[in-house]
């Protein structure tokens, strides 16, 4: 009995290295609680609380420092680079994909907090309980991205969603905001329910919640509940990702929420979901039909998304709505990447393309929404396209940065977006998805129209009485510094190309059994990735 207990202990508790690898998550969760307590002791709980803001900011530090150490020196602290370990029953995957996501989410959270601090409307976000929820949401995204089984995945998803429902719903002045909050809540809850049912059906089929067991799922019409389960899981995630035809909540919610928060929702939330799909699809599916079947699903989703994102964006006047449709179009590019992954799950190139595009998309969208939040601060919420007229003369620096972000989102070469899309299309073509790649490029050209119409307003139209008048105060200087850094980063990524992503090892972590009773056949536990094209892994 005591021996049994010992085994149990060694199984349930992770090794000490876990606390280093999971430090970003733990710091955000604990930081959230401390920020909450800070509100009890300091000042009016309904007012912005600078102490909570500082605590929130500091608790993001581990999610920058730890990933930088682990990404720059992969072998440090005895980490196994060839086959990264998974701990806690695949609940936490200690691989570089997790660390890469932690870095993006940590920086994005710091950026969001900072932007909230320097805009008047955003400062409402700095009440202690809202800072706490923002940190919890970021922790949820990290949990999502580092989980290797359905149970932890769903906990992270809900932690993220519940926090965001409240964050969208807290600021209620107009009916549009209320509509956004209610819509987001109902749609999100529906999506969660669909995901849960899908999870249950998949578990019924394979008898395991681990994603590494997903290849056992028999995808064929002989097994209707397995297929339906997988489909429900993918549909639920598409809801959360804002992929057409499950996108309808997106523009309303983005328009209704405050721009700082919209930037957070449209980028970091998607990072988490994209990583989940990367891990699920990267395990591959059984049989010759499995992968192509899933690829077909994403074929349809990608085409619809890029179509909806490009065409519907044309008819809208509100900049936030246009950016929302742009993010639907970009979700279409993610679907292209997923179709590629479904066909070539072990391709390191495809995985790295997803990582690169995620990072680039996050930088561009966060930057664009940050400028929008700043402009709205001196004017009103929900700017129209015409109100940008003459911005090039009034605030040239902001106009240049916004131009860089818009060019990036459109995928025009000097900015970062081009290489992201190039890598995705390159890897799609290399697995034979030529038709889909052509569709994506052609429809992207339609979306160019509304991106360029924004630039026309900024640079060529003279200022009118209704156009924005950005204030030139101390906050404006802070915004300039911050947004300037982001714009410079996106230009730098655009100019040097995505070579940096080749140094990230996209191997998934696997569980290493405590005791092996029988010899396992072959090397089934470690992944053999095909080498990335044009990329040499340093290890």
């Amino acid at each position: 009995m005591s021996e049994n207990f010992e085994t149990m202990l060694s199984m349930s508790f992770p090794p000490a290295a876990f606390y280093l690898h999971a430090a970003p998550i733990l710091a955000l969760l604990i930081g959230g609680l401390i920020a909450l307590i800070a509100g009890v002791f300091r000042g009016n709980p309904d007012r912005p609380n600078m102490l909570a803001y500082q605590i929130g900011f500091v608790s993001c530090f581990p999610s920058v420092i730890v990933p930088l150490i682990l990404l720059a020196a992969p072998g440090s602290f005895g980490a196994n680079t060839a086959q990264p370990p998974a701990w806690l029953g695949s609940g936490f995957l200690a691989d570089q994909i997790s660390q890469f996501t932690f870095l993006i989410v940590g920086l994005g959270t710091m950026f969001t907090l900072f932007m909230a601090e320097i805009s008047n409307a955003g400062r409402q976000l700095l009440r202690p309980e809202l800072v706490c929820l923002l940190l919890f949401a970021s922790a949820g995204i990290m949990i999502l991205a580092s989980s290797g089984e359905f149970m932890t995945f769903f906990t992270g998803l809900e932690l993220m969603s519940v926090s965001l429902y409240v964050l969208v719903g807290y600021q209620r002045q107009d009916t549009r905001g209320l509509e956004a909050a209610v819509k987001y809540f109902l749609m999100g809850a529906t999506a969660s329910a669909i995901i849960l049912m899908g999870m249950a059906l998949i578990y019924l089929n394979i008898g395991s919640l681990r994603w590494s067991d997903l290849p056992a799922l028999n995808i064929s019409l002989n097994n209707p509940f397995g297929v339906i389960g997988l489909l429900m899981f993918l549909i639920g995630l598409s809801f959360k990702l804002g992929v057409a035809p499950f996108h309808t909540w997106g523009p309303d919610v983005y328009q209704g929420a405050h721009s700082t928060l919209t930037g957070y929702m449209s980028t970091l939330v998607k990072v988490g979901i994209v990583m989940v799909l990367l891990r699920v699809l990267g395990n591959g599916f059984a049989g010759a039909d499995g992968g192509p079947w899933v690829a077909k699903v994403f074929w349809v989703l990608a085409t619809l998304s890029i179509l909806v994102g490009s065409v519907f964006g044309l008819v809208h006047n509100s900049i936030k709505r246009m950016l929302a449709y742009s993010s639907i179009a970009n979700a279409g590019y993610f679907c292209l990447a997923f179709a590629t992954l479904a066909l070539a799950p072990k391709s390191a190139e495809a995985r790295q393309a997803v990582l690169a595009y995620t990072a680039i998309y996050t930088i561009l969208n966060l930057g664009a929404f940050a400028i929008l939040a700043w402009l709205e601060d001196s004017s009103r919420e929900d700017l129209l396209k015409e109100e940008l007229a003459g911005l090039g003369k009034k605030a040239p620096f902001a106009a240049v940065c916004l131009t860089i972000f818009i060019l990036g989102l459109a995928g025009i070469p000097p900015a970062a977006g081009f290489f992201g899309k190039f890598m995705l299309i390159n890897s799609a073509v290399s697995v034979g998805l030529v038709g889909l790649a052509v569709v994506m490029v052609v429809l992207s050209c339609i979306s160019l129209f509304y991106y360029l119409s924004l630039l026309v307003e900024i640079w060529l139209k003279p200022a009118t009485r209704s156009s924005v008048n950005p204030q030139d105060n101390e906050d404006a200087r802070d915004v300039r510094v911050l947004v300037g850094i982001v714009a410079f980063a996106s230009l730098l990524v655009g100019l040097v190309g995505p070579r940096w992503v080749a140094s990230i090892n996209p191997t998934f972590a696997r569980e290493i059994p405590v005791q092996s009773n029988e010899p396992k056949t072959g090397d089934s536990r470690s992944e053999n990735l095909s080498p990335a094209v044009g990329a040499v892994n340093p290890h």
Partner: protein, 189 residues
């Protein structure tokens, strides 16, 4: 036919019939009362399946805690039946009914289950053996509590601990949304 099988069948049929009764009640409170009976019957069925832990949890969690919340919400809203009626069956509801019939037939009948599980035995994962060789702890099926504990505190310990933060976020969220109005007054002052 032995006694436990007979009582299982009786309980099952009663539960299905009561479900029909529940969704046709005019007053929400009577529907909630019938739901309690259904929950209790389900607990009995779990018990007959030798899942004693699930039976106890069913009584404590569903028939107890969750029903209290249901009744609270019903009493809080206090809607008369006239305000709850909303016209006939829509197309969307028809589709939902069709889906639920499909799922019920698939999961609830012998034919559907045979259809479901044909693929499983061939792959050898139906016995709960993880393909990737992850470590599970299994006790004999009669050791209900130990099996639940092994899942909760060994396999899914991380998720279990994180759920406390999920509940924390939900509690904070409820407070933020509920006290919103007073906060707006404070801002205006």
């Amino acid at each position: 036919m032995n006694l436990s099988l007979l009582s299982f069948i009786v309980m099952g049929i009663t539960a299905v019939l009561l479900s029909g009764v529940m969704i046709t009640r005019r007053w929400p409170v009577s529907a909630a009362m019938v739901l309690i009976a259904i929950m209790t019957l389900l607990a009995g069925m779990f018990g007959l399946l030798e899942a004693h832990f699930a039976a106890a949890a069913q009584i404590i969690v569903y028939a107890g805690a969750i029903m209290v919340v249901f009744v609270f919400v019903i009493m809080l809203l206090n809607l008369p039946p006239e305000e709850l009626r909303y016209g006939g069956v829509t197309v969307g509801e028809m589709i939902l009914i069709a889906v639920s019939v499909f799922v019920a037939v698939g999961l609830g009948t012998k034919v559907g289950q045979g259809f479901l599980t044909t693929g499983l035995e061939s792959m050898g994962v139906a016995q709960g053996e993880s393909v990737a060789g992850g470590h599970h702890m299994y006790f004999p099926a009669s050791e209900n509590v130990k099996n639940v504990a092994a899942s909760m505190f060994v396999d899914y310990l991380w998720a279990f601990e994180l759920i406390s933060f999920l509940i924390m976020a939900a509690v904070i969220g409820a407070v933020v949304i509920a006290k919103k109005r007073s906060a707006e007054h404070a801002d205006a002052a």
